[in-house]
Symmetry: C2
Subunit: 219 residues, 2 copies
Amino acid sequence: MNIPVMQEILSANDQVAAQNRAAFENASVLALNLMASPGAGKTSFILATAARLPPGVRLGVIEGDLASRIDADTIAARGIPVAQINTGGNCHLDAPMVRAALPALPLASLDLLLIENVGNLVCTANFALGAHLGVVIASTPEGHDKPYKYPGMFASADAVVLNKADLLHVFDFDLAYFRRGVEILNPDAPFFVVSCRTGAGMDKWVAWLLSLRELRVKS
Amino acid sequence: MNIPVMQEILSANDQVAAQNRAAFENASVLALNLMASPGAGKTSFILATAARLPPGVRLGVIEGDLASRIDADTIAARGIPVAQINTGGNCHLDAPMVRAALPALPLASLDLLLIENVGNLVCTANFALGAHLGVVIASTPEGHDKPYKYPGMFASADAVVLNKADLLHVFDFDLAYFRRGVEILNPDAPFFVVSCRTGAGMDKWVAWLLSLRELRVKS
């Protein structure tokens, strides 16, 4: 009974996502949709990325949360342009929310936009925002079985990041088992093992980001 | 546009939840709905609880996951009756799923049923399953800001558990800030700080569980 309505909602969302994408293209901004469980380290990942970008690359951030401005305040304290979206009870960002947030950002002068979605390893994968790429960030405390239990997210992501790698041993995290789970679902996705705390692996991630043809740094 | 349909779905769910509750009451089974982020340690919490129950208390488990039988196999290996629900893409259990799983359990001979919901700190709070109590399990790696960012879950839970307390210092987890966030939303909820790994705090949790008037152990 609810399926036709769901399809209508998705279609309307996709239309706005296409408009968002056009806005990013017009402004020559590479946009990434960062998805993860609550507490996987999305905000830390944004900050660790920002700290490693060459001076010429201008970053903007959209923070998505059910409530609070905690993450936006953290980002703003680093001097990074940021817009906070509060979804109320909604378990994911959608394209109209992102569209409504864009006027708060100096899009024309940005090169890279990182959109931090709501902490949710399921619903966020189902709603296009207009971003060029979707990135899932897993973390070692969550356990190595997550690709097997949440296949939709890992199958649809354009890149997979495993954060808190400095704690692999603390959580008896079987990296080969995790990686095999990702590869079954998504054999071509670039895979990055990082620690936002120690910085390990972040240079490789940032090098990949800078290599993307969609990233055109304004001179 | 989608709101009336959503209300219809919720109402239908609530009707089945009431039937589930009646089935639990008829069988004299206390049922708990365990909700948490992915990887917070729900399955470990079930095992740590099981290990501390007096011999006379008979436990059954329902495992909810999008995919896989990983958790059900872990529970079954301990000799505990278990039913696995795979939701497909669905981000939460609902009452009809639980109803469909009940015939796989020896309900009449159980005293306690622990229902492990899908790993999701948002959607699971919105769907009654028929359980007597809803318990949210947070964990220290997720960070101390979770009550502020996911207020719906923490406001509606009947008890709050903080797991992985042995790693408080590893994550610079501010316990007072976390607890204040819970108390603002839900001042009367019992609050348990535990480590399923070390067992710390588990006796207090199990003592509370055994003190609940809904738990009537069959002789």
